[in-house]
Symmetry: C3
Subunit: 340 residues, 3 copies
Amino acid sequence: MADPRFFANSGLFTLRRLAEITGAELRAGDDPERAFADVAPLDSAGPDQVSFLDNRKYVAAFRATKAGACIVDPDLADQAPEGVSLLLTTDPYRAYAQIAQAFYPAVAARAGIDPAAVVSPEATLGEGCGVEAGAVIGAGAEIGDGCQVGAGSVVGPGVVIGTGSRITANVTLSHCLIGARAIIHPGVRIGQDGFGFAMGAAGHLKVPQLGRVVIEDDVEIGANTCIDRGAGPDTFVGAGSKIDNLVQIGHNVRIGRGCVIISQVGISGSTEVGDFVAMGGKVGVAGHLKIGPGARLAARSGVIRDIPAGATVAGFPAVPVKEHWRQVATLAKLSKRKED
Amino acid sequence: MADPRFFANSGLFTLRRLAEITGAELRAGDDPERAFADVAPLDSAGPDQVSFLDNRKYVAAFRATKAGACIVDPDLADQAPEGVSLLLTTDPYRAYAQIAQAFYPAVAARAGIDPAAVVSPEATLGEGCGVEAGAVIGAGAEIGDGCQVGAGSVVGPGVVIGTGSRITANVTLSHCLIGARAIIHPGVRIGQDGFGFAMGAAGHLKVPQLGRVVIEDDVEIGANTCIDRGAGPDTFVGAGSKIDNLVQIGHNVRIGRGCVIISQVGISGSTEVGDFVAMGGKVGVAGHLKIGPGARLAARSGVIRDIPAGATVAGFPAVPVKEHWRQVATLAKLSKRKED
Amino acid sequence: MADPRFFANSGLFTLRRLAEITGAELRAGDDPERAFADVAPLDSAGPDQVSFLDNRKYVAAFRATKAGACIVDPDLADQAPEGVSLLLTTDPYRAYAQIAQAFYPAVAARAGIDPAAVVSPEATLGEGCGVEAGAVIGAGAEIGDGCQVGAGSVVGPGVVIGTGSRITANVTLSHCLIGARAIIHPGVRIGQDGFGFAMGAAGHLKVPQLGRVVIEDDVEIGANTCIDRGAGPDTFVGAGSKIDNLVQIGHNVRIGRGCVIISQVGISGSTEVGDFVAMGGKVGVAGHLKIGPGARLAARSGVIRDIPAGATVAGFPAVPVKEHWRQVATLAKLSKRKED
């Protein structure tokens, strides 16, 4: 069970309710009024807990589980042990997410402005916002209904935040417009100057960065990630994209909708990333490139040319993933030969 | 036009004034009293806006521009469309930077200490400093005239900051001396302990880090970058160097003047970097090395040996850049052959 | 000498006392009552200062040193110049660390809660804790005796911190239990949501992250490092492990005891790292792997398979280190041939 110091459990839920929440089918004959108290992994769940099987690698654990209910693909229903109720769906992980959200809903902002917060009288806050101690909100900022601004976070002058967004602690926002239902993790920096200089032996002259950062709805941004504002155009992150920790996004970058960008990725200035692109950890993308929609960049890829839609690439310089593995195999083989 | 929520435009400026600001020549016959209201890119600029052509790739856009004035190399003057006034210079990007700075000057610190800041009575602040809400300044800190200390930033005891420096929000400074006109972006950490331990199976024993970080004038440091203090000698950053976001600089590192260090670079302890070195994104440099003045390390280079002055290297382990590309081509060719 | 603005020197110490502190032997004939005022490097130390020789590369500096005392391996005692007292030990660097700690002891927290800190009445603080201005401590937090919570740091509800831990400035802690004598550097983020989504074209659905971060005793964590909490299991860092700056540790990762993890490493979700593993800068480790105890991952290694105990690996994909260097040599040779 989740540590009650940190998590509040909203159960019980009946099997019927869990089916409603997820759209999963109940297995014929299972009791829809059976009640459940929590979620748990297959190997530790008990009879009042709900588990799930998503990866067929864990079928053995499914066969042996003591869980009271399990979310599972209909194809595997016949392998369930006795006594377990089944929620049948072809996307068990998604259904698990929905059920876990039901048991442990995101904590709403505690409405009200802490006396130790500093909110400009020229800022606008919607209904039900919570502003924690040490937060600072500048003149002209507009914050939508039900937002949270965490302890020690700084919302600069003129920043706009959509409804229901959660700005956690120690975040810095400036020169940006953020959509609804954003989750901005601790230490995120959004809207600072892009890295633009007219280089020269007499000194590098700063080029004013006159754009903004525009972030659409339902974006999540991981801890200590940095998104610089545009030099003239805006830096942009499309709806529903999820960005992990310690990512760098340079000025003028455009990221499409539904992208997934893993930790320590760096995307250089003015690159355009299409919708539903996935980037593994530590990927680097040079500036002024186009990454086509649906492309997949394997972890550690170093991308220095445009990538077509739907391609999967790996390595440095990044090449189609099969070619990458062939290169790896070739080099390993040639190196071994030397010893003969 | 730049979003007025975030940027204040100081125009108009006459062509004559723009020529004075930049040292560019007016094209004979252009009206020096023509006035301009803003800067804009070639393809969107209108008749009261100033644009520039720096990269010959955009000559077509130049030929078609509706901008009222354009900064351009004299060699290209004859390709200007009718109606555009010309500012002639061999370094158009630098002139653009100067003009953009004129229209959008860096915002001066708003003088005064916010009542929600905490400034030690034993700290010294120069004239015209601005200290924002939630900033904390320790005993013995000395802050020069016209500095800004942003919301939530912490200036530790004894820290010295030169005149006109801008410490933005949520920065942490300790054990450091910072020069004049520095720009320190949000989340920067300067002066914490270097990573020094006497390793051993019985436990890793902490080695006190007894040096400082010394940063000369006109340095800019990007968001969430970390610069550890020296173990005994100081960690050092030379005048005019520009460091991007999420960079790691280890203890005792010495960085020369005018260096440009792109995002996610890591420089290990005690390495010396000469003047005007450029490092691309994600470069890693091992410890105790010497990188000669003017060397260029391509993005993702992994440097494990000294690099001579003026050399350009790439790859891991980093080799001269031509050799790197030959290696890439060789491996690609050998891997293809396998399929025949 | 260390800058007195930042460091307070606790000397003098006699040679006898230094021998007691370190367990080193005095060379026969040296005066145990000779007193010393400071530590310094071999090449700058004077007659009232203590230096050390750890790396045989510096034997020449040892032979020429003007230091009053030197910590050295007994094998090298006969190369000491006249006038230098000797502290003999087979681990001079460890003895230096102990002596430097004696001259410059870690500064204890200044007990008391700054009036500009915000501490929940439902939090529990031990004896002698120091809470600096702008720190925010949530309900139910339990902080042990003698801890420091630095300026601008946020300790979330329910967080537990062991005795004598030093949370520096601008740190964010949530959903975590931290052991005794921890040192948490500025900008560290511990306990935020792991990166877990049920991906899908209709949108990526957030999977609640219901675990914690558990950190054992004597752990040091570098500036701006991020450790996400577990998805259900906990994320875990074993006793005595030392983690450098800008490291990413994903959800459910387990790090053993005594590990050393250098800057910009990234460890993906659910990977298990054994005791006394060392990882060089910028190493990346994929998710769900096992890194055996005592393994050494060279800087920039990209690890995509389990690593056996005690192995040393390098490169991407990481291979045994000798194989890596053979691959590097092979490719260099083949590329050169092309020019013939």
